[in-house]
């Protein structure tokens, strides 16, 4: 048993590290014009919209009413967090000023959502239906577009590639932390899971629609934004079906 716990932790860590790979596509992005900003925000929006619908569906498997309650709590969480951050000077990493606030919120949302995903990993291990390695691989690959969403937004605000990768990994660290207790106490955590998945979905969808997508429309042509969002949305939905 302790051996398996160790394995769950290691696998969980690997999945968190994979999130950092999402920064790679933005290696060559240097010019930070409004056009680039529109496209990167559109990419993040499409990926996160697709991801949040997937979370809703997954939550519904474990219990639809709980997912709805969780979703409402997720929306309320973002509203409260916005209010608290309003008018405050925010600075972290290599970012500060006006651009930092939405990014901080994005990171909070992605980190909180990783808690639910960690629980999902642990419960899946405990369920023992599939091979552990396969599940880990799936989650790890699944984390890459999430890192991409974070990096797209951060990079377009002038963050270095290393900072993008680092913060992406940080946002995924709750996964290994939550996977272990969820694995040890599967039955308890299975009951909590739909609330968590709903919460993550609500917070993510709200974050996209309130901050990221309007930002994309403001800085680019609407047809360009629409194309990028639709295509990345489709890519994410496909991705979740395949994995």
């Amino acid at each position: 048993m302790p051996n398996t716990v160790f394995m769950v932790l290691i696998y969980g860590l690997l999945t968190a590290l994979a999130t950092g790979l999402g920064a790679l596509p933005f290696l060559f992005l240097k010019e930070l014009s409004p056009k680039v900003l529109a496209v990167t925000n559109a990419i993040a929006s499409g990926l996160m919209l697709g991801a949040s619908f997937g979370l809703l569906r997954e939550g519904a498997v474990f219990g639809t009413p709980q997912t709805i309650v969780g979703g409402a709590a997720g929306i309320a969480f973002i509203l409260v967090a916005e209010k608290m951050l309003e008018g405050r000077e925010v600075a972290f990493g290599d970012l500060s000023g006006r651009g930092a606030r939405p990014i901080l919120l994005l990171l909070v949302v992605m980190t909180v959502h990783s808690f639910s995903e960690g629980v999902a990993v642990g419960v899946a291990f405990g369920g023992g239906e599939k091979l552990a390695t396969l599940i880990t691989l799936a989650i790890a690959i699944h984390n890459i577009p999430e890192g991409m969403a974070i990096s797209a937004v951060m990079r377009s605000k002038g963050s270095t590639l290393a900072a993008c990768a680092l913060w992406s990994i940080v946002s995924s660290l709750p996964q290994p932390i939550m996977a272990v207790p969820a694995f040890l106490f599967v039955d308890t955590f299975r009951d909590v899971l739909p609330y968590g998945l709903g919460f993550a979905a609500g917070a993510m969808v709200f974050m996209v629609l309130m901050e990221i997508l309007p930002g994309a429309y403001e800085s680019g042509k609407r047809s360009t934004v629409a194309l990028w969002v639709s295509l990345t949305f489709t890519a994410m939905v496909l991705f979740q079906k395949l994995i």
Binding site: T64, V205, L209, Y217, S223, A226, T234
Partner: protein, 244 residues
């Protein structure tokens, strides 16, 4: 429902969806609503259509991932290019207000838009009658929002309420027509079902993002838009997993 001919179900449901556009005109009986409400109507229409698009996309991918993705890409490309060829690409209904071409472009946009909805209803009906009814109902409520938007655009031109309602429904006539056509083609369509589902999904999603959602952000605060779109899209996604 088993005693009713499936094709009658398609006809009735798609006509119901089109007719609901008239309901959106009703609030104007009590004066022109505040622009914030019109933004809300756009947001409601966006959320329901996004949810419906997501469902169709999921179904398509279940039936066959590769052809479905090809269908989605073609649907997105089709929707994008037909708007481009029709000169609607840069149609921003706030910026264009007062220009002479504004009126007919809006009607054209509305007709093209409802054609995509018709295909979506028809294809969903081919997959499963229950799914088709569900999609038609979602789009019926969506059409209330769109009827409201059209009535708002007509109101500076002093159109009568009855005329506005008639025009709102008339713009939607392509919906039952294409729903019936898609359903009639079902023997042919079954071979291409994943692609057809993908096509409908891609077309719907692009319309939301290029047409409905930006117009919504123009009129209402982002918080309200996010709330309405999130809840309505989430309701469609969750209800489908409960009912079907």
């Amino acid at each position: 429902m088993h005693s009713v001919e499936p094709v009658i179900v398609v006809l009735l449901m798609s006509c119901l969806a089109a007719a609901m556009a008239a309901v959106g005109v009703l609030p104007f009986r009590f004066g022109r609503p505040h622009q914030g409400w019109i933004g809300g109507a756009y947001a409601l229409a966006s959320g329901l259509m996004l949810g419906a698009g997501y469902l169709l996309m999921g179904r398509g991918l279940d039936e066959g991932a590769l052809p479905a993705v090809a269908g989605v890409v073609i649907g997105i490309g089709y929707s994008h290019s037909i708007r481009y060829f029709a000169g609607l690409e840069a149609l921003d209904d706030e910026a264009a207000k007062g220009r002479s071409e504004y009126g007919y472009k809006l009607i054209l946009q509305s007709v093209l838009h409802s054609a995509a909805e018709g295909v979506a209803i028809g294809v969903a009906m081919v997959v499963e009658l229950k799914l088709g009814v569900f999609v038609a109902l979602a789009l019926a409520i969506h059409n209330i929002g769109e009827g409201m938007v059209l009535a708002d655009q007509l109101s500076p031109h002093r159109a009568r309420l009855r005329q506005a309602a008639a025009l709102a429904v008339a713009c939607k006539v392509s919906q039952p027509l294409l729903a019936l056509a898609a359903f009639a083609l079902s023997p042919v369509l079954t071979g291409f079902l994943p692609s057809a589902l993908g096509f409908a999904a891609g077309a719907l999603v692009l319309l939301v993002l290029t047409e409905l959602l930006p117009n919504s952000y123009h009129r209402s605060p982002a918080v309200s838009v996010a709330l309405i779109v999130g809840v309505s899209a989430g309701a469609v996604v969750l209800l489908e997993s409960l009912l079907i």
